[in-house]
Amino acid sequence: MARRLWRRVADHWVLAAAALVLGYLLLPVVVVAGLSVNRPSSRLSYDFHEATLDNWRDPCAAPGMCAALLRSVQIGFLATAISTVLGTLLAFALVRYRFRGRTALNLLVLAPMATPEVVLGTSLLALLVAAGVPQGFWTVVIAHVMFCVSFVVVTVRARLSGMDRRLEEAALDLYASEWQAFCRVTLPMALPGIVAAALLSFSLSFDDFVVTNFTSGTTVTFPMYVWGANQRGIPPQVNVVGTAMFAVALLLMAAVRLRGRRARQPAPPSRGDAGAASERPVSAEVG
């Protein structure tokens, strides 16, 4: 009995370790949610003082925050739309065609991901200043598209390269034109990857502080607002936004999951004799 118990401990300690790490990951989110229903005793205080729903009732009470939030959403949508289209086209070309400069292009796509944000931001700033372009809303969009494109390419490419090309060939064999095969077979199958890429782009753009900081001029996005507010004391409404974003993310992922489950392929063969060909000798029966 003791041996069994010891064996269970030996088998499961890693689960406990993982649970602790998960707690570490989620702790700040819990704290943010807690702070969102907190009435702080003073502007610079982070202590839990008194529970209240005021922050949720009127998130825009913090001056300037909602304007910044709206700007972030606008930038997020624009950057997502542009980078998803550009990135998907790049991914298709990289997966489906061999062409001159393909290797160099691959490198160019990966490079922004391997570059610290502060370098991306400062180099864009250096260029904008040298070219005499004023920084503002549109320069932020341009910058966000630049770093989102790489992530879109990587995400969509992963989906495309896992796809069975024979399905397209089957469509062509069944009298579809190339364009029809693309619209009816390729695109629908790549769609989950494209949706994931778009979600990722939006979250990257919405959350970006560093690159935005160097390219925004006087434009204030939500992260810029938080950064600025940190000097004066963070209004609790900021935590409302943080919590709401977390909730929206959960809902979105649940929705994607549910759709995915409905479109799930047939379950893989069960364990045990899976894989063994079921070639049974034909039995000749007389009746």
């Binding site: 700040p28 702070l35 292009l105 610290p116 630049m146 959350d207 940190n230 963070i234």
Partner: protein, 283 residues
């Protein structure tokens, strides 16, 4: 469809995205290098003259070598911690979670949607002098009665580790997920104890994930300046803080650019060295 169209199609697909990257990534990088060689005597208002001032580099290193050291020290420490924490989590999600797998993945990814800044600020509340963590550590005498966590390297590294942990977990998860479980069974069958299975089969086969996770953590962490700014003091500032100040506060573009280029070069050298060593070990 005509043959010419077919031949041109990949280029047409590539053109907009490729152009965007050339104009807004490659060109700025060139401009950054150019800026780093401008005459440091110039100013933003009067304009800079290109004097091929290579002296900007030694000047920048002399002034800020400590920040470079701190950046890579903190980032390295945070990466090591993230690997130590992230591996077990990725392992459990990939191999032990069963039907909870998806939920656990969501738990790893979803916090990233709560703004990075907001989460970093949450650490301010968690590590506050009057908070429970400091209280507990003081109680068990791991911290002096007046000891603090905030405004210290501990807070900065904690936040860095936290911030980039998902980038460590996800690639390791992906490579463990691809792992053929029959190999683990084969190892057990061949007299390997659980620990031996891990060191001889699981870990070597998840190496691509570990390499990717390490790079995805150490690169952004070494350029990070949010953690040091929000949770540290100027004594904990990393190279990112210096670059930020050079461009946005001191308006010393040549020096800021030189520091940026140096940061990129160091990362490039470290990355290539790391990948090459990894390739050698794999054989």
């Amino acid at each position: 469809m005509s043959g010419t169209y077919r031949r041109l199609l990949p280029y047409l697909l590539v053109l907009p995205g490729g152009l965007w990257l050339v104009v807004f990534f490659l060109l700025p990088a060139v401009q950054l290098v150019a800026t780093s060689l401008y005459d440091p005597a110039g100013s933003l208002a009067d304009g800079y003259a290109m004097t091929w001032a290579f002296g900007n580099y030694p000047d920048a290193i002399r002034a800020y070598w400590a920040h470079f050291g701190r950046s890579f020290g903190y980032a390295g420490l945070a990466t090591a911690l993230a690997l130590l924490l992230g591996y077990p989590l990725a392992y459990v999600i990939a191999l032990r979670a069963g039907r909870w797998q998806h939920l656990l993945l969501v738990c790893v990814v979803a916090p990233m949607f709560t703004s990075f800044l907001v989460r970093t600020l949450a650490w301010k509340a968690i590590l506050a002098d009057t908070g429970p963590v400091v209280g507990l550590l003081r109680e068990v005498h791991l911290l002096a009665p007046d000891g603090r966590l905030l405004a210290s390297p501990v807070a900065v590294v904690t936040s860095l580790t936290y911030g980039y942990l998902p980038f460590m977990v996800l690639p390791i998860y992906a490579s463990l997920q691809r792992l053929d479980r029959r190999l683990l069974e084969a190892a057990r069958d061949l007299n390997a104890r659980p620990a031996q299975v891990f060191w001889t089969v699981t870990l070597p086969l998840s190496r691509p994930g570990v390499v990717a996770g390490t790079l995805l953590t150490v690169i952004p962490a070494s350029g990070d300046y949010i953690s040091a700014e929000l949770l540290g003091t100027p004594r904990d500032y990393m190279i990112g803080n210096v670059i930020d100040a050079a461009f946005l506060v001191r308006l010393d573009y040549p020096q800021g650019a030189a520091l940026s280029v140096l940061l990129l070069l160091v990362i490039l050298v470290l990355t290539i060295g790391y990948l090459r060593r990894g390739a050698e070990e794999v054989g």
